[in-house]
C-alpha cells in the first residue's frame, strides 16, 4: 500500500473538515485521514505537525506544505491542483 501524498488531520463530523474532504475529492487527490479527539488538549500530534491544535490540518508531502484553517486549505488545494493552478 503506497502512502497518499496528503495527510488530513480531522475530527469526526467537523463541517470544516468535510469541506476540505469535498475539495480533495473534487480534485481527485489521494489522502490519508488521521482522526483526532474532540478535546483540544488531546491533539498534541496536530500541534506538533502544524504548530496549532486546530483541525482540519493537512500535510502535503509532495510540496512540503503544512497548513491549518479550512478556507486556507481549500484555497491552497485549488490553487495548486485545480484548473489554472500551478
Amino acid at each position: 500500500m503506497s502512502d497518499p501524498q496528503i495527510t488530513l488531520y480531522r475530527l469526526q463530523a467537523c463541517p470544516f473538515c468535510e469541506r476540505v474532504v469535498r475539495t480533495l475529492n473534487e480534485l481527485g487527490l489521494e489522502y490519508r485521514s488521521r482522526y483526532v479527539e474532540p478535546m483540544h488538549s488531546e491533539r498534541n500530534v496536530v500541534k506538533r505537525v502544524s504548530g496549532a491544535r486546530s483541525v482540519p490540518a493537512i500535510v502535503d508531502r509532495e510540496t512540503g506544505v503544512t497548513m491549518s484553517e479550512s478556507a486556507n486549505i481549500v484555497e491552497y488545494l485549488k490553487g495548486t491542483y485545480g484548473e489554472g493552478g500551478a
Binding site: M1, R32, S33, R34, V36, E37, E42, N44, V45
Partner: protein, 169 residues
C-alpha cells in the same frame, strides 16, 4: 475452596500455527490518532497480535497489564484488536498498553474471520471476541497461537514470553 464454574466454549476453526494471518484493514489507534491501516502494511517484523474482549472488561485490563509487566512492546510490535470504538481504545491506551496500537473492529468481521466469535449471554446483538494470542513473523506466518477454549480463560504469559524470545532472538 470457591466453587468456580468455568464454561467450555464450542470448538472453533480458528487461525492456527503455520497459517498466514488473514489480512484486514481497520482503524488502528495509537495514543494520538487513528487511521485506516492494513495488517499487511503494519507488520514488518515480529508482531504480537492480541484479540481481547471489549475495552473495559477485566480480561482486557489484565491483558495489557501483562503486556506492560513483561515489556513486550520493547521487544516487538504489539497490536491489539477488539470490537470497541477508537475513542474507547484511546482511553485504554492513556492508562496502559505502553507502545501498543489497537485495531477497532465493531462489526466483528475480523473477529469472525479469525474464528474467534463469542456470543455473550445477555448482550443481544453484540459479537464478542474470545481472548486470543497470535505471534507473527514478518510475513504474517503464525509462529504461536493460543485461543481461549473456556470462559473465562487467560493466556499463559510464560508461554507467550518463551515464544517471543524464540522468535526475536
Amino acid at each position: 475452596m470457591v466453587d468456580f464454574d468455568v464454561v467450555s466454549l464450542p470448538e472453533t476453526d480458528h487461525v492456527a500455527e503455520g497459517d498466514t494471518a488473514p489480512d484486514f484493514t481497520r482503524p488502528l489507534v495509537n495514543g494520538e490518532y487513528w487511521e485506516d491501516r492494513a495488517l499487511d502494511d503494519v507488520v514488518d517484523g515480529p508482531t504480537l497480535l492480541l484479540f481481547h474482549p471489549m475495552d473495559g472488561t477485566f480480561q482486557g485490563t489484565y491483558l495489557y497489564n501483562t503486556v506492560d509487566d513483561h515489556g513486550w512492546s520493547d521487544d516487538l510490535d504489539v497490536l491489539g484488536v477488539s470490537i470497541s470504538t477508537p475513542y474507547a481504545h484511546k482511553r485504554l491506551l492513556a492508562e496502559r498498553g505502553d507502545g501498543v496500537r489497537i485495531f477497532s473492529d465493531p462489526g466483528a468481521a475480523v473477529v469472525e474471520e479469525y474464528g474467534l466469535a463469542h456470543e455473550i449471554d445477555g448482550m443481544t446483538g453484540i459479537t464478542e471476541s474470545r481472548p486470543a494470542v497470535f505471534l507473527l513473523d514478518s510475513d504474517r506466518t503464525v509462529e504461536y497461537a493460543w485461543v481461549a477454549s473456556e470462559h473465562p480463560e487467560f493466556p499463559d504469559a510464560e508461554a507467550i514470553g518463551d515464544a517471543v524470545a524464540d522468535l526475536v532472538d
